[in-house]
Amino acid sequence: MSFSLVIKIGGEGGEGVISAGDFLTEAAVRSGYHVVNFKSFPAEIKGGYANSTVRISDEKLYSTGDGFDILCCFNAEAYAYNKKHLKPGTVLVYDSSDFEPEEHDGVIMYPVPLSDIAKNEIKAYITKNIVALGALVGLFNIPVESLKDSIKAKFSRKGEKIVNMNYQALEAGMKYVKENLVKKDGFEFPPPIGLKDVVIMEGNQAVAKGCIAAGCEFYAAYPITPATSVGNYIVEDLIRKDGWLYQAEDEIASLAMAIGASFAGVKAMTATSGPGLSLMSELIGYAGMTETPVVIVDVQRVGPATGMPTKHEQGDLYHAVYGSHGEIPRAVLAPISVEDSFYMSIEAFNLAEKYQMPVIVLTDAAMSLRAEAFPTPDLSKLNIVNRLIYKSEEDKEQKFIRHGRFLRYALFTEDGITPMGIPGDPNAIHAITGLERQENSDPRNRPDIRTYQMNKRFKKLEKLLEEDYDRFIEIDAPYKDADIGIITWGLTASITKEAVQRLRSRGLKINAMYPRLLWPVKEDVFEFFAKSSKRILIPETNYYGQLATVVKDRTHIRPISYNIYRGEPFIPKEIEDIVDFLMENQEITEGRFTPEHVYGEKAYGLI
């Protein structure tokens, strides 16, 4: 990376911390940079410490890095939270009308009276965050025209006056630093590169856009942090496309509605977080049992129970894979980035429709808010799969009709997939039921029929493994005999990618595998990968090592689990550290490890 800069903005929730980060993100994209951000705020409605970290580079980014280069503090609390991370060479920009920081060796300090400027010069305290952006522009040569464009794009709906007030605030910040401060650091933006054909999306937005691109026409919602905004982002697109979003009375109703809509012939979904996923357990089983396509997005947050609703965790994989009484075919997908969230949402519908089963997509709180720019998807080039629908005229031999009854659950297809009948078609009238049933849907308790129907349902997963599995597995294994092979999923995969680059640049032989499809599992793909590495490491942000369980269940791999469960994603350095730790401890070949093992103390990461 020739250029990479991490700017962290912290302050009181509601003071524009998050939107300042968003402006910076968008402006960077306008200028043609790669950008990734991370936002965090408390579950409480108002107040509390919020922060936004924006990383900008001229190369593709996988994480927001290990820390920050530039810290911009709107208040003393933000300073207090972050001061332990102020290292020599980092920059602190702070609201000098609010507080005075301590001395920090080698840290470059830029006091700017943000509040005073906003209040006294602009006469609008609310512009404090824009004043801060102005200061950053002045100090680091952030492309100001892009920033202005971003401001304009956001505020133009509110009228020219508001736009101008914000321009003024920006300029006041710039002016203040020009006139009062001397640049003492070396951080500097190269000149803007200019607009490329990219879109910029947040994680939940990418899910929403992916679902609409896949042809979703019905979405049943029940609000829950951090999933609600999938609905916020999709609702108007859906209406414009003559679909509908229905705010249901709870999550059970949501999934029931989605299943009803799917039965009626429409691609349907719901999105929720852990508590909602738990409530949906019984109906997930019903969708699997009745072979009804449906997509369930779970934007994971910290569990169990209410947990920490705005915080990151990869804690719902167990429930997604093993939850619900009895056994059903299902697929569990987990995108590893915002861009991937878009494509995996499409794939979720593709798998649900092709295999007539529930598909669960696992993202998480941090991913939901992360913004990324990526090449504009071209829908005409994407594969959109639709369910197999019974067409009487194609069934000349009337194979799917017996004694005048439509055989929704016919047992004679090789792959277990049988055509669906859609209400309105007089030739495919049938019932669906959660009871075990014979081919024509009549309930039956017979041991043989039961066994055949179970086999029918699970045969579909075998086909999936053959026809669809491989494209979901990204293998980055340049070494025949790597020291360590890392397997990981979701946001942790993204962060691991950066760590792997660094480790390799330090000469370590590290292979990596990033499965997006976590269930079902193709044993030989995992074992083939594992052969290339002496040891397998699975880092996850959960307690037990949930992917590790799935891997142990379905393959022969005995992995080393590395688990944090503090409500935050990994930083790349932590992945580096556990790898270094393992390099120093060659005798470790498996087992579960936590930061206590590596750091020998109770230091649990960033705040």
Binding site: K241, A256, A258, I259, G260, F263, I429
Partner: protein, 299 residues
């Protein structure tokens, strides 16, 4: 499936034999449903029957239309999904008192107040049949159940006044011992545009030894015949509804059947249409548009 000029009730009956006990009220109900559908000439392929779990909830499996035998308590939200996805379908819920008023009771208010155009038929035997004799929310006080061997100590639910309060736009009661009344009421319920609710007293001779055909034989009284005609008067409907359970406490009280309330109001679908018109909704829009809107556009 051959085209038929005249639809007969039998055209809506599947070839599975109902697994109900001899004498079960639900036999009457299914006859009334098929009769109503045939007389309304709604093609079987355009009907979706949705149910939960219970003896009564097996009904959709005995019908030859599209059917969803869902999970206990989830018939109404599933039916809503069907209706929203395809408003041209006739969507019926056929479920039990336990299914609709115990585990499913959280769904009722929201379907009713939104006036979603589905027809809910509650087959009310005042007991849990399928699980072999427990009290249901509509069980009278004192009724024996396996989990309440001392007799129910709970005041029963009043389905009629509940649904009126929730804002249902068609609310009626009928009785499985009166096929003609039943099928007429069901016809009207289906024809009504908006959320319709019909409570059907449908005795369970196996487990409810009190609320039997014999008990109801001379107990019901047709409120419409008795002069209840001003059907869009909610206050009156409620007053009448309040009397529905009186017979539990007063031997001489009658059980009102007939239409309590009926009022034409915009359905949920009508309102959705308005919104969609504002948004210029169209199936033809290319979703690429939604993607392109995420480009960082020049300002």
């Amino acid at each position: 499936m051959e085209q038929q000029l005249e639809l007969q009730p039998a055209d809506y009956r599947s070839d599975i034999e109902p697994t109900w006990c001899p004498g079960c009220g639900d036999f009457g109900v299914i006859s009334a449903i098929t009769k109503a559908l045939a007389e309304l000439k709604i093609k079987p392929e355009n009907v979706v029957s949705v149910s939960g779990i219970g003896c009564s909830s097996r009904t959709p499996l005995f019908l030859k239309n599209y059917s969803m035998h869902v999970l206990h308590g989830r018939a109404i939200p599933t039916a809503i999904g069907v209706k929203l996805a395809n408003p041209d379908l006739t969507v019926l819920v056929e479920a039990g008192d336990g299914d609709l008023f115990s585990i499913g009771s959280g769904h009722n208010p929201h379907a009713a107040r939104r006036n979603i155009d589905i027809t809910v038929l509650c087959m009310d035997n005042q007991v849990y049949g399928l699980t072999k004799n427990q009290i249901s929310p509509t069980s009278r006080e004192g009724l024996y159940g396996s989990l309440t061997p001392f007799g129910s100590i709970d005041k029963p639910v009043n389905p009629i006044s509940y649904m009126l309060t929730f804002g249902a736009t068609f609310v009626a009661q009928t009785y499985a011992g009166n096929l003609k009344h039943m099928s007429e009421i069901i016809k009207k319920a289906i024809s009504h545009k908006g959320f319709s609710f019909v409570n059907i007293i449908s005795p369970c001779p196996t487990y409810n030894k009190v609320d039997t055909f014999k008990y109801y034989k001379d107990k019901t009284i047709d409120i419409n015949e008795q002069g209840h005609k001003e059907l869009d008067n909610l206050q009156k409907a409620l007053e009448l509804a309040m009397k529905d359970l009186e017979h539990y406490y007063n031997d001489s009280a009658k059980v009102p059947i007939g239409i309590f309330y009926e009022k034409e109001e915009p359905t949920y679908q009508d309102r959705v249409k308005e919104v969609k018109t504002k948004y210029k909704a169209s199936k033809d829009i290319n979703p690429q548009v939604f993607i392109d809107e995420c480009k960082v556009l020049p300002v």
